[in-house]
Amino acid sequence: MYKYDEIDQAIVDQRVAQYRDQVRRFIAGELSDEEFRPLRLQNGLYIQRHAPMLRIAVPYGTLSSRQMHKLGDIAQHYDRGYGHFSTRQNLQLNWPKLEDTPDILAELATVQMHAIQTSGNCIRNITTDQFAGVAPDEVIDPRAVAEIIRQWSTFHPEFALLPRKFKIAVSGTKQDRAIVQAHDIGLEFYYDDQQKMAIKVWVGGGLGRTPILGSVVREHLEWQHILTYCEAVIRVYNLHGRRDNSFKARIKILVKALGIDEFRRQVDEEWQHLKDGPNTITEAELARVSQYFTAMPYENLPAHDAGFDSAIASNPAFAAWVKRCVHAHKQPGYRAVSLSLKPHGKAPGDITSEQMHVVADLAEKYSFGELRASHEQNLILTDVKLSDLYSVWEIARANGLATPNIGLLTDIICCPGGDFCSLANAKSIPIAEAIQMQFDNLDYLHDIGELELNISGCMNACGHHHVGHIGILGVDKDGSEWYQVTIGGKQGNDASLGTVIGRAFAAEEMPGVVQRLIEVYLRERTDEERFIDTVRRIGITPFKEHVYAKQEEAAHV
């Protein structure tokens, strides 16, 4: 992974000093709340229900063992011994003290980490496929370019105070796992017919209050122009995006208002002046950064391992875990492993300090000292030998990190919701926990098969509910908490937004509602169909009828 040189280190160190002084001025009353707000936000610090919340950047989801150990120590020392992996591959601390945050950042800087631009109206952490570099369907490893974009966007002076936050995702695989269509800019890498690295540029996607999938603003962009082209896009947005109403301030609203053709025309006009300028990426810079993302020093291994095969045959629990949590790999004899942060009945994405240290040790011992965070809020060991899988499983299992539910119903994506977030309409974590308990039977869970269930506590959609196969949204009705259900959302190349099935439900009804949706699926599915396929084939009506019919029956009893 990328390693800082003195220049990178100086930037994070100077940032700590700058931020420390900002906090000092705030505490001394020299900065008003309003003035401090964007400053702290651009350093990942929210003020939430109970305490500040600090969001630490994990650029494109990549972490080293050493960094993970440091995060474990920080969570122990400055927080309550746990952290939360978010859907944007970052780590959040829920209980730090404001006056400690400069020290936390100083600690992070010692392991080449920071919280720069993890919040606020600026270019945020760049996200990508959690399997970048090892996925068999990868065409181009986007990490080097993601790092170049990270550096370019760090304190970009022109784009320091945009109308609203700005998220960029990159992807270089056949199957999109980075949701490029749900980002302000999505960069999809491919080889063009000259066998040169090129990019299809999506713009104006986003979830939130007005969910919109992105539009293609440019089919073919040569890689060296990425930065200047993004500058053109963001300049048009910076000058013309709305600033009067934060709900209408995202670039997606501008793109819709102008239409993609007019937007493209303005971007192209701007770009004519920027193209081939100094921020054009050189071969030398790409090569310099790429050297940090070369293949790991793999051993030459056979595609099969007898010990592994016999463990699968003799141990059903291990086999179930392998089926769900172990993923194909480019390199023969290696696999990627998901460590589930979704044990049933716990807040999705939460991890204790002890678990962080265990994960760091696992990565150190079995996966070249590197790991990833996924936007599904799990952790990944990218390069594990087949022959090591059993040992990894035993350690993971002993530490609550081996729930075999990756990609299944209980692998819920869930925002912090009303327990932590001051914007929430409703709690989301208890709903996730209740659903997990309802489907605690692993055989049943595996029989239901692949299903993405996403929960957000309000229409800001931090939990991506629109693209969940089943989406749950917290709504407020006369001051009490209700939940609206959508089905048919999907991420990926054929992304779609879910459809609301009808009136909202009370919290205690929710496990039952999900249960009834599953009953319809189990009744209607064909052999190969996943839940989403059945929904797409038969439409929402049968689901709706079953859910609400039962409701009415119950009401009459």
């Binding site: 040189d5 220049i7 100086a10 930037i11 100077q14 940032r15 700058q18 900002q22 003035e35 964007p38 400053l39 109206n121 550096q151 370019w152 966007s153 760090t154 304190f155 970009h156 002076p157 022109e158 784009f159 320091a160 105070l161 945009l162 109308p163 930065l227 300049r235 910076n238 000058l239 013309h240 709305r242 600033r243 009067d244 501008l254 208002a257 102008l258 002046h273 300028g277 100094p278 921020n279 050189t282 030398a284 810079e285 310099r288």
Partner: protein
């Protein structure tokens, strides 16, 4: 004590007088031209009455609002010819109107950009465009809600003059121009990105 920073130092002898529009009724108008379809932002532009009623000091160096210059050009042209007239615009105004309104942008000894709220980042693009697209070389001043935590960015976007908000110390603000020693990306002040500047 002056609150003006110019070329990295506090200056006490600012010879420029900023001319402001008289208060008008609160009229909210949509901007003309290409931005019309999304100028829903509720920002005000001024009325002909306000422009007519704007008091121009009879002598001395003045910075006049763009809207006043556009309407009262004939009256003000001699001041420009003497090098005693600069123009200011607010962040929601259309920069191209300024460019079109003078034969050569470098006739203006000073351009000032007014930022009503410090969080309005349009000021950065306006500075960048003036310096790069339109080749403006003279003094470029930020005024209004100008605070120290934005100075480094303003500098990088081509500003060389900052009128710090009256209730804040320019002395302290000065320090923040040095917040970062080696920024990553090319911008106005340092056009080359770090990888072209130094051997990494």
């Amino acid at each position: 004590m002056s609150n003006l920073i110019r070329n990295n130092a506090i200056v006490n002898d600012d010879e420029w007088i900023t001319v402001t529009l008289p208060a008008g009724e609160e009229v909210v108008r949509k901007q003309a031209g290409k931005v019309v379809m999304f100028k829903l932002t509720g920002e005000q532009s001024c009325t002909p009455e306000q422009i007519a009623a704007t008091v121009i000091p009879a002598s001395g160096k003045i910075i006049v609002p763009l809207s006043v210059w556009l309407v009262r050009k004939d009256e003000l042209a001699p001041r420009l010819a003497k090098g005693e007239l600069g123009i200011w615009l607010a962040t929601h105004e259309v920069l191209e109107n300024l460019i079109d309104a003078v034969d050569d942008i470098n006739q203006l000894p000073i351009i000032a950009v007014f930022v009503e709220r410090f969080a309005d980042g349009r000021i950065f693009s306006i500075g960048t465009l003036l310096r790069t697209r339109y080749g403006y070389k003279n003094e470029l001043r930020a005024f209004g809600d100008v605070l120290r935590d934005q100075l480094f960015f303003l500098k990088r976007c081509g500003y060389d003059s900052y009128l710090i908000r009256a209730d804040r110390s320019a002395e302290e603000a000065l320090a923040s121009l040095q917040d970062f020693s080696q920024p990553y990306q090319g911008a106005v002040d340092e056009t080359q990105p770090v990888w072209r500047r130094v051997q990494r």
